[in-house]
Amino acid sequence: MTTLSTTGSTAPTPAGPAATPAVDPGTVISDEIRVVGMVWERELIRYVRTRTRIVSGLIQPVLFLFVLGYGMSGLVGTTGGFNFRQFVYPGVVAMSVVMTAMFSALSIVWDREFGFLREMLVAPVSRVSLVLGKTAGGATVAAVQGTIMLVLAPLVGIHLTPVLVVQMICLELLMAVAMTTFGVFVASRIQKMESFQVVMQMLLMPMLFLSGALFPLNGLPGWLTVITRLNPLTYAIAPFRQVVFAAQDMSPAARARFPTNVTLFGYTLPIGMELAIVVVFALVFFVLAFRGLSKTE
């Protein structure tokens, strides 16, 4: 800090230990990348450390898969060797990804309550880095949780291939990124811990139920059709089910019985379009999340 001293008479000290970080653009960028990495790492540490969260994050999807799966199978029946459990499996995996991502993002509410958010927000770093780190962390954790769900596939008669696993993980990551940015935005608006449960109940559960995770989106009454098509999760879950079903050996009758496509005004959306909608959704909420956090303090 005194290296710029005008006297300059002191012996040349090789870069004083207390030197303030140099400010050149390269250093700034690498510093910001370190910040993203650190925020990401913290999410992982917290995830690994809270085993109850990992387990509870599995219980609900498992309930849906087996209890609802077996319960509904009797009603829906089997078409060409394909049953409701197989249909609902991708939806349930997506559900666990979405819930983990959302929970991870909403931990910002905890951070606010316990003061740690302040430690992050007053640091001389860009809030973009903080949101990026949080998003990357939430997405990683959610994708891991979703990938753990893959072990259940053989139990319900879903065949996994290496290519399918890679496709699923990629889609899980995309879905998780979108839901984390959305969650960070929501969390930035929640000031009180009590509101957290309300948000989970009033926002997350309806979004999951109206996304096609648990039932096909075709042949619904008009009002329900409109709501499901407005739900961004619909466009994240449909491609997920499409790649899973594409890898299954299904009869045409089964494909007709358990449709995977999303129609909009009678037009069937291609998978690329669905994914584009999710990407746009993620970007919009990334910006909103950044703005939401910038308003704090």
Partner: protein, 339 residues
């Protein structure tokens, strides 16, 4: 970038002479409420400077403005040579902050909390570990380095926060009510930490408190009330400004003692149950007064004005009966949250 470099140059060029904090006409209004009302002061480098005042006096608002967490309504503040308004990021890089409320992640270990902070404050990669070891040593928590913060007591957590505030070698450490809600023993430990930081790291310390006895540790004190600085000086000068030291005695014959002391040149008054002499230095005066009294002295009470007297003198009130904001309530709320 050129802005920042210019700022750095300014600091470098005047590192030894410019004040650590320099404030002119600083004002903060929230609607109709004037929280801070045009204050001026400056803090020298390496100084321990305290803001003393009741809750709601404007201490925290001032600290927030100096730390760039609140924008001044008017006025100017330079911290570590940078303007808090136009160069907030540079200010933040050069200051350490310990807030009134806890800001640790208690699911991480102490070390992990510190590492997180080091990265956020751009501590060069190669220095992170040595710096963590150093600050943990400064607050005597080295042996608890790898423990989860959730296992820490309130006082330990606070000291860890002080260590964290020092991690990126700030020029100034801001402490907002560092000892509030802690037991006297822990408070003493924290003061030891603060003195050690000052001596070993040469950091300037700016703190706020509403504990009179703690303000005594500071080299200079600004007494703040209703957003204004009403007195600013060293504790001794402040105390001297409100009156002299006194020595009160009870003797076997007050009448004779009064005459004897007056003859010896003391200013003495007859007070309830005895005599009171007004002296320059109570400690030095006790012996001579007892000797000069000429009659057996039964009791001696020497008194030097305290900061309580100073506060009372300048505001007309005791510090604890303020603004309707109950201090014990806050302490309780804090305790409940920590448990």
């Amino acid at each position: 970038m050129t802005d920042v470099e210019a700022g750095k140059l300014q600091v470098g060029a005047s590192a030894n002479s410019s004040p650590a904090v320099d404030v002119k006409g600083l004002t903060k209004r929230y609607g109709d409420l004037t929280a801070v009302d045009g204050i001026d002061f400056s803090v020298g480098q390496g100084e321990v400077f305290a803001f003393l005042g009741p809750n709601g006096a404007g201490k925290s608002t001032t600290i927030k403005m100096l730390c760039t967490l609140a924008h001044p309504t008017s006025g100017r503040a330079m911290v570590a040579g940078f303007d808090v308004g136009s160069d907030a990021k540079s200010v933040r890089r050069h200051i350490g902050l310990v807030f009134q409320e806890q800001t640790l992640d208690d699911q991480l270990t102490a070390e992990e909390n510190l590492r997180f902070h080091a990265v956020l404050y751009g501590v060069p990669h190669g220095q992170v570990e040595s710096r963590i070891a150093r600050v943990m040593e400064l607050v005597a928590l080295s042996d608890r380095r790898k423990d989860l913060v959730s296992t820490y007591s309130g006082g330990m957590a606070r000291r860890l926060e002080i260590a964290r505030g020092m991690l990126h070698t700030p020029k100034i450490l801001f402490l907002d009510e560092p000892t509030v809600g802690l037991d006297p023993q822990t408070r003493a430990l924290i003061w030891e930490d603060i003195q050690r930081l000052r001596i070993e790291e040469g950091v300037t310390i700016f703190l706020t408190t509403h504990y009179m006895d703690e303000a005594e540790y500071a080299e200079r004190i600004a007494i703040i009330d209703y957003g204004r600085i009403i007195a600013l000086d060293t504790p001794d000068v402040l105390k001297a400004s409100v009156g002299t030291d006194t020595v009160a005695i009870e003797t076997s014959d007050d009448e004779a003692a009064l005459v004897a002391l007056q003859r010896a040149g003391y200013t003495v008054e007859r007070t309830e149950g005895g005599l009171t002499a007004f002296v320059a230095d109570e400690e030095a005066a006790v012996g001579p007064i007892v000797a000069a009294a000429g009659v057996p002295v039964r009791t001696v009470r020497a008194h030097r004005p305290t900061l309580d007297d100073v506060f009372l003198h300048y505001t007309g009130r005791e510090i604890r009966e303020q603004h309707g904001e109950a201090i014990p309530m806050m302490a309780r709320a804090r305790g409940a949250r920590r448990s």
